[in-house]
Symmetry: C2
Subunit: 410 residues, 2 copies
């Protein structure tokens, strides 16, 4: 049975943390100089582990095992949010590296093939999931030509600057892979609240993002009686209350919805808002429930407009992201490994956040494993996970990896 | 009995409209080149009317009658909002000019003294009510040193640019004045809704302006269950609903309250807002009711904080403006004049908007007369009043002016 080296795992995670370290957190935006330094270091560590390592034409670091398949692909991302935590995606990448090393060091599993990836730009500094999308063969040329970071730098120019623009891109070889495994921090507080150490992900939730605009009548806030106002801001507030009620009636414990932004126009003390806008996002693991929420929202909008004082319309919406179910057989193997190493300390759960696994799951069987986030915090400098949980998560993933490959290589 | 010249009145209003004309509206911000052109034209028209006209050290245009007092002071303002209407304060200033002319042309009233003022910066391009505040002797030196317009220009520099900085300031001579009259457009839709032509103002409402801040916990919008969120935006929405209920229980038909601005932090689709802020204004003619609303708000804040999930506090508040009651004897004289000229077509009403009269009323008896605003619109390019109402309002004001001065000069 392969065994990880906890100190080596933690040392690598801590060394990776030094690239872009900012207080307890990390600022390592895709393709920034410090991110490129981290990628070169990671490629070196992959080579040290016996993998054939490259940084591909979009920036993904890919370490390919020299063993023949069927292979297990393990990956996540080492880029961060503008105020990122030190683990986030880094955990899964270094897990992959450590699992490749652990299997290579074990007589029984040394012929197993584990490939490791750090997908570029999961966080969308330029274009979200760029690395995994490129890997599975989606067309990313438009993103390379047109996507810009917050400073206005074109992705193509950043790739030139990083010396990558002419490098070949790593592409999915379906025949090689048995499965994709993405370990990650939970980014929520559920495992901690339940006193659990390991999450086996059932589904990556689907997402709807909409902008709603309310149109009323701008008026003087002193001279316009309440009775004749067509206050778009007040209408927005009333709409949210009705929407909350409708969504609560449809929700289960994991359904979430968020009004992340509200704008009143003109936004002055003395003016009754003539227009108002809100950003609404809702997420659920069930495609049916997402559809029911959309239907409820449409009915609310219809009713609201029928009342006539202030009108409301959806002005913009992101392409819907459907829920992505993790491969049931792989879930079972993660669950078996978790039960063997940490009996009773694991649970199945949806992922409320998006991950590269949702891109790759459309092409090869995929699964995810979570470790607890302290206080449920992520995308923040104070994001952290107990070292015992970091080590335990890698042990479970290693056991599952060996089992997945044993089943097919044995 | 003095008689106005309707065509002269309308011609002067229309000529004033040409300074800063923008479509049907006017952009004539205090001390801008076009505003100074308008002030010089106005001073010329005052001189033509036999008044001793000056533009004073803050920009107020003041036309003093050459007759001895007791005098009636008639005024308003000719500066506009960034998207101003053509009448707004201009109406009251040109009424003053026309009333001075009409009284001078009538044998019976030619010895009456009518002074006319266009107070600078009522709209607060630099510092609201600057002209009337300077006139009554308030210290405006700090405003001259520190107040800036939206372009960042200091008031002092704008006065230098206009060639006014060394001009003397006109000061209130209490012994001269019997009363102050400010005619103005209503800026609301009440007269129109009631089918009336003239409003006799009872009170200029008091105003409270507050900023409230809600503090919760910023979280990932996908991974944070609704049950454990401390969503500052959702709390703000719930707070507004409770506040509306509490204020409705205290309000009369003229009480108004407005949430003019809402900000959620960080304002992104994918982040549960950790903080939220709102701008609240409420107005009422009764000091007691304003106090009751403040007390209700404080109780709501206390209750909200006792629930503990998201805290709320008042972070900023403007100095309260107390309601200002118009002089009852002057109200009666306006009412008599209205009833004589337009029987049954007038009503008493509060002013929901602020006016220079509230500054001057603390020093000499003051009153206001309103004419209807079409559609209740003001501070907008499409602001307008029917010509018949413009003429009628001036006839009523002229009759009242003669009566006020007759009473004391006769």
């Amino acid at each position: 049975m392969p065994k990880i080296n906890p100190q080596r795992l933690l040392n690598d995670l801590k060394h990776l943390r030094t690239f872009g370290a900012t207080g307890p957190g990390v600022v390592r935006l895709s393709l920034s100089p410090v991110d490129m330094d981290a990628r070169r270091w990671l490629a070196g560590r992959m080579s040290d582990a016996g993998l054939s390592a490259t940084i591909d034409g979009v920036g993904t670091v890919f370490g390919r095992s020299r063993n023949a398949g069927p292979a297990l692909l393990i990956g996540s991302h080492t880029d961060t949010q503008p105020t990122g935590g030190w683990l986030d995606g880094a955990l899964g990448v270094i897990y992959g590296l450590e699992i490749a090393r652990a299997l290579a060091e074990c007589e029984e599993t040394r012929h197993f093939a584990v490939d490791v990836a750090s997908w570029i730009d999961e966080e969308g500094t330029f274009s979200g999931f760029l690395g995994s999308r490129s890997f599975v063969g989606e067309d990313v040329d438009e993103a390379i030509r047109g996507a810009r970071n917050r400073e206005g730098v074109l992705l193509g120019d950043a790739l030139k600057q990083a010396g990558l623009i002419d490098a070949p891109c790593v592409r999915l070889d379906r025949a090689r892979y048995r499965a994709y495994l993405e370990p990650h921090i939970e980014q929520g507080g559920r495992l901690e609240a339940h006193g659990k150490s390991i999450g086996v992900v059932t589904t990556i939730v689907g997402i709807r993002e909409l902008k709603l605009r309310f149109s009323g009548q701008r008026n003087h806030a002193g001279t316009t009686p309440m009775s004749i106002r067509r206050d778009a801001g007040a209408a927005l507030v009333a709409f949210i209350a009705r929407m909350d009620e409708a969504f609560r009636a449809l929700a289960d414990a994991d359904t979430v919805w968020t009004v992340g932004r509200i704008e009143l126009d003109p936004g002055s003390f003395s003016v009754v808002p003539g227009a108002a806008a809100m950003h609404l996002q809702f997420r659920d693991a069930s495609a049916e429930r997402l559809h029911a929420m959309e239907t409820a929202l449409a009915a609310l909008i219809r009713d609201f407009n029928a009342e006539g004082k202030v009108s409301v319309a959806i002005t913009d919406s992101e392409p819907p992201e459907a829920p992505v179910v993790m491969d049931p057989a792989l879930q079972a193997q993660l669950a078996d490994a978790a039960e063997a190493i940490a009996p009773g300390q694991w649970e199945r759960m949806p992922s409320g956040a998006s991950h590269d696994a949702q891109v790759i799951a459309h092409h090869i069987p995929a699964c995810m494993l979570f470790v607890p986030s302290i206080g449920g915090v992520s995308h923040d400098f104070i994001e952290d996970t107990a070292e015992a949980h970091i080590v335990l998560g890698c042990e479970v993933a290693t056991r599952a990896a060996a089992a997945i490959l044993r089943k097919t290589s044995g």
